[in-house]
């Protein structure tokens, strides 16, 4: 009896071994499986460890009060979030981030589109303009921030000339609670409109010429040709540029530090600079993680709604 059982066991195990080796042989043509085992894990590991895991951990740590040493032990439930939403500076940071989005949509992107429409055709003058307008985008944010800090300096830069001309007191705009963020918005437009312009130019150059010619034959005016033909045809470029400008707005940080560092009195923080100032520099892991989670949720909600509504037609 026991003999029988072992033989059956043996037989089934050898046949399953055979199945495995047959499956392996069939799927490993050209070392397919071997290549997979070699090629996939590096990226998978890196990505999981440094991108995905930290997000999960941020959610977990945000429920603790913790300075980052030892194990997180002081469980505080949602009090980090409560503190966060009660903090005036956080409100300002959210509001400022929202202002960046608004200015992007209302000023920056239309400006980029108008410029793209006027210089998308190939000529040396247009290439030169394109080059100039794109230049700020390749500068590092910290360098751009310092340049503009000089421009806005009440003693030296534009503001000095401006107040001199008006014969008023020197005005330190970056130290002015009411105006500092407006100055930052100017820099943002300066830095990024060229990027969006390039997206539109690439899209406009892909619009077939005969379509525009056909619209002219149909009697469309310049403006009508733009409104009814060109803009609908570059809609996918516009959708993408809106997507990038909003995601970019949500993570503005590098530019804030050299310009104001979030001051005066925390009036120019964005979500990320707030996170840096109140989470990282003070090693408030729990509190900082809570800010991160809010930021993450904003991004995910935005990305998913945008993709499932506006970008849906594209695919």
């Amino acid at each position: 009896m026991s003999n029988d059982v072992t033989t059956i066991g043996k037989r089934s195990s050898t046949s399953s071994n055979q199945n495995v080796s047959r499956w392996f042989k069939k799927n490993n043509h050209g070392n397919r499986l071997l290549t997979l085992v070699l090629f996939l894990p590096p990226a998978l590991l890196l990505f999981t460890i440094f991108v995905i895991l930290p997000i999960g951990e941020a959610g977990y740590y945000s429920l603790f009060r913790w300075n980052g040493y030892g194990e997180p032990s002081q469980w505080v439930e949602f009090s980090n979030y409560v503190r966060l939403f009660k903090h005036g500076a956080f409100d300002t940071a959210v509001w400022n981030t929202f202002k960046i989005i608004l200015i992007s949509l209302v000023i920056q992107l239309p400006l980029a589109l108008i410029i793209a429409l006027s210089i998308y055709k190939k000529s040396w003058a247009n290439s030169l303009f394109r080059l100039i307008f794109f230049l700020p985008y390749i500068l590092a944010e910290v360098a751009a921030g310092l340049i503009w800090r000089f421009v806005f300096d009440g003693d030296y830069g534009v503001m000095a000339k401006f107040t001199e001309a008006l014969n008023t007191d020197t005005w330190y705009i970056l130290a002015d609670k009411n105006w500092a963020f407006v100055a930052i918005l100017v820099v943002l437009v300066w830095k990024y409109f060229g990027f969006h312009m390039m997206i539109y130019i690439a899209a406009l150059q892909g619009v077939p010429k005969d379509l525009i010619e056909a619209s002219k034959l149909d009697g469309a005016s310049r403006f009508q040709a733009i409104w009814y033909v060109k803009i609908p045809l570059i809609m996918s470029g516009i959708t993408i540029s809106i997507f990038f400008s909003i995601l970019g707005a949500l993570q503005t940080f590098d530019l804030i530090m050299p310009l104001t560092g979030g001051g005066p009195s925390n009036s120019t923080h964005t979500l990320v600079s707030y996170l840096y100032t109140f989470g990282i520099t003070r090693m408030n892991v729990g509190f900082g993680s809570a800010v991160g989670v809010v930021l993450f949720i904003c991004c995910v909600i935005f990305a998913f709604t945008y993709q499932s509504t506006i970008m849906k037609d594209k695919k």
């Binding site: 042989k25 069939k26 043509h29 050209g30």
Partner: protein, 373 residues
């Protein structure tokens, strides 16, 4: 020296798409075989299974009596010419031809010794340093062939190699392929949807439809004795006329057609016969004759449409309910709306069973036997 054999070969894609069904074929050494069929018939899939580019879902493929199902393409001793040529764009002509040899670990000198004669044979020597981008369509085609030839494989595979060329080049490349095969005498399998290529190149043609073999035979057999209605209609241009008829047996077999009775002189397969059948006759086997004959095989009809094609004319008329096409030498003087007499060459008649589509008629004095699968 290589034979190729397919035994009950099947190809099923996930989701029950049965692309090749029970494919059986034995190919002799040195034979030139053409797989012919409409797109989606499974001809390319079969070729790719032989090449090792697709898994074989069932059955066995043998090269030189050795099962190759599990072998890598390189171990099967085959070479292949692709429809798009698939030349490596970043390599020169020389590197393209030499690539397989390089992968095999051959020394530079040995590679050179093999590449040069092949390039000479294909008149590629002056082009060896060029990139594929700088070549004409015909030159690319020759590089693709050179790449296959340099390995001196046992079996050559061609997957629609001429379909990207213009008509003129296609004719000359076809002749070149034929000449090369004559010279090298290697077993060759050639996939095409172009019946002219199939008829001119093949020792034997395999006609496929929906993953199944419809007929295997020499070009002559396929043309003159199609095994079924599909083959009859697929081969020949303009296509064979099909006319539904009533078939009955009195003293001998006869059919009723357009109010006339046509006697059949050949043999009808009694087992396959039925009262309703389809009569098939090629446009070139209907002749225009003067009025004087009163023969049961002469039928009157009105010329509805006439096209002059050069050496021939093509006209359409009506026999009873069915429209027919007739091809005649252009020396005939007929006009549209004329009444004409059509003589049907009885020895060239075909008859097909309406249910199975199989050929059920063998005219008298026809030497080739029908090979059906």
């Amino acid at each position: 020296m290589a034979s190729v054999e397919f035994k009950h070969v099947e190809k099923v894609y996930s989701g029950d798409v049965h692309t090749v069904k029970d494919f059986n074929l034995k190919i002799n050494d040195g034979e030139f075989i053409v797989f012919l069929g409409p797109s989606g018939c499974g001809k390319s899939t079969t070729l790719r299974m032989l090449a090792g580019l697709e898994d074989i879902s069932g059955g066995e493929i043998l090269i030189n009596n050795k099962v190759v199902n599990e072998l890598e393409p390189i171990e099967r001793d085959i070479a292949m010419v692709f429809q798009s040529y698939a030349l490596y764009p970043h390599m020169s002509v020389y590197q393209n031809i030499a690539f397989a040899l390089k992968l095999a670990g051959m020394s530079k000198a040995d590679i050179d010794e093999k590449v040069r004669p092949v390039a000479d044979m294909l008149q590629l020597t002056p082009l060896l340093d060029r990139k594929p981008k700088a070549l004409s369509g015909g030159q690319r085609q020759r590089v693709a062939m050179g790449r296959a030839m340099v390995r001196t494989p046992e079996v050559f595979l061609f997957d629609e190699p001429l379909s990207n060329l213009d008509a003129k080049l296609r004719n000359s490349m076809r002749a070149e392929i034929k000449a090369l095969h004559k010279k090298m005498k290697k077993t060759t399998i050639y996939v095409t949807h172009d019946q002219v290529e199939a008829m001119t190149l093949a020792d034997r043609i395999v006609i496929l439809r929906d993953g199944k073999v419809e007929q295997v035979g020499t070009p002559r057999e396929i043309y003159h004795s199609p095994a079924n209605k599909f083959v009859a209609g697929f081969i020949g241009s303009p296509a064979m006329n099909f006319i539904p008829v009533a078939l009955n047996k009195q003293e001998g077999w006869q059919v009723d057609l357009a109010g006339q009775t046509l006697p059949l002189l050949g043999d009808v397969d009694d087992h396959q016969s039925s009262a309703n059948a389809t009569l098939g006759i090629r446009p070139c086997d209907i002749h225009i004759t003067p009025d004087l004959l009163s023969n049961p095989l002469v039928i009157k009809g009105k010329v509805e449409n006439l096209e002059l094609l050069g050496s021939t004319i093509q006209l359409t008329s009506r026999l009873g309910e069915s429209q027919i096409t007739v091809e005649a030498p252009s020396s005939h003087i007929v006009n549209e709306d004329d009444e004409a007499n059509f003589y049907i060459d009885e020895s060239r008649l075909h008859m097909f069973n309406d249910q199975s589509g199989l050929s059920i008629y063998k005219p008298k004095g026809k030497p080739e036997s029908v090979v059906s699968q």
